[in-house]
Symmetry: C2
Subunit: 255 residues, 2 copies
């Protein structure tokens, strides 16, 4: 029975997609069977792995009930890693889902038929607390929150943790916070050091030991359709995401 | 009669708020009377200028018609720069506006009573192509598109330009693209240089000459509640945003 992890933070550009792709790849390289679901109409996780949704089978069609989730699954160049792609049409789902009775659990219901096929399902969310992120949080067992080492990081975290708590109370009682992951850490700037220290002071053990450095290889890898681990295994970015993989594995094996 | 500029790009973390705050400050320091409207529920433009919405008078109340825009205007520490703040409640507007007949022009209608008081109105948008960004694009005379020098930059631009064209045809015939602004440019990386060259090749004269470098002072300034121009006037970030101000002024004076 696989575990489902939502990668979420409504602040934009904090490394959600980079984390979703590279954690998925790190777990696949450890021999796990992983399904990555792109729940962002921008389709960054889809294009970052060099994939295009050729047919009408995207996560949008799955949410609207036109096809089953299995029909949208693509295999990627990374052994053990499959993908459910997103297309721009997904932007329409924010409004279309609102009118459905079971609007918050469309993804959860569809996932039930495939979680046995995978050790881990990872969901990349858009930069908003709307219907799509709600579906991700209702489908997930736990949430991984990438947090950029920048001023605005702490501002938005309160809203996100509040939303997660409300969802746990009302819609998904088993939802946990698997961890806060510090991203784009630049040891040369006092801003980065200050934010990292403040987050660790506030959230203690909830913050993963692994910290993702600002590393140009992470920014370059999607242009090659690869995870940073496949693109430049010796890079600091690859090492950091392999460490995230190990931390999540030890966390998940305890469940 | 002031001009209204929407700062928009649905990709997250590309420097929308940094551009909205620092362009506003640059124009105010040139002696213009500027109104900055924070249309993002994260409230980054509000907190980045050290402001908090004390009363119930935020842009959310304005959009729902509870108060007039003038009642939500705050003066900031920068002479000539006023702000309409945002609060988290604004996230609810995405859904609440959908049911209103005039949902796309709520902001435009409210702005009509204040544009005579300002030389320029600047609107900071959230990282989505939803109701709030739609309101910003319907209220605006022109759009400024911050574009991060990263792989995903060009991916989302097509969707945004398509949305702008649809809005011009159906809802706001005078909407123009005032420019594409390259942000977080790091001359040391081939990724940055490659993306900047590709954007200039594709979009030619639409791309502003000014280019915003990745500059830690820009990231530090919001933690002091100041624009980068006020925080560190000698920094490369301040110089770049002053240049953006001059380019926008020469563009606007021609209208
Ligand atoms: N540690 C890092 N070092 C350098 N660049 C990074 C790093 N992490 C992510 N990036 C790059 O920064 C940009 C933003 O990251 P990413 O797209 O993963 O964020 P996001 O939170 O998914 O954004 P959105 O809110 O738009 O979904 C991307 O161009 C990505 O390649
Ligand atoms: N040129 C720059 N150099 C360094 N840091 C920058 C620069 N521009 C913006 N930043 C920082 O990068 C982060 C992202 O920028 P910003 O919040 O302005 O983007 P945004 O597009 O408004 O994000 P969102 O999509 O969440 O609204 C912020 O922490 C900001 O302070
Ligand atoms: Mg993303
Ligand atoms: Mg912003």
């Amino acid at each position: 029975m696989g575990l489902t992890i939502a990668v979420a933070n409504q602040k934009g550009g904090v490394g959600k997609t980079a984390t979703a792709i590279n954690l998925s790849a790190a777990l696949a390289l450890e021999g796990k069977r992983v399904l990555l679901i792109d729940l962002d109409a921008q389709g960054s996780a889809t294009s970052g792995l060099g994939m295009r949704c050729e047919t009408d089978a995207s996560v949008y069609d799955v949410l609207l009930g036109r096809i089953r989730l299995e029909e949208a699954i693509l295999t990627t160049a990374t052994p053990g890693l499959d993908l459910v792609p997103a297309t721009r049409e997904l932007a329409g789902a924010e409004v279309e889902l609102v009118t459905m009775d079971d609007r918050h659990q469309r993804l959860r219901d569809q996932l039930a038929s495939v979680t046995d096929l995978y050790d881990c399902v990872i969901i990349d969310s858009p930069p908003a607390l709307g219907m799509l992120t709600l579906n991700a949080l209702c489908a997930a067992d736990g949430v991984l929150v990438p947090l950029q080492c920048e001023f605005y990081a702490l501002e938005g975290l309160g809203a996100l943790l509040g939303t997660i708590e409300r969802i746990r109370m009302a819609l998904n009682p088993s939802l946990e916070i698997y961890g806060i992951l510090l991203t784009m850490y630049d040891a040369r700037t006092s801003l980065s050091r200050h934010v990292a220290r403040e987050v660790r002071d506030h959230f203690g053990g909830k913050v993963l030991n692994a910290m993702i450095p600002r590393n140009v290889r992470i920014g370059e890898s999607p242009s090659h359709g690869l995870s940073v681990i496949a693109y430049d295994p010796a890079s600091a970015g690859a090492a950091a995401y392999r460490q995230v993989g190990r931390e999540m594995l030890s966390l998940l094996s305890g469940r």
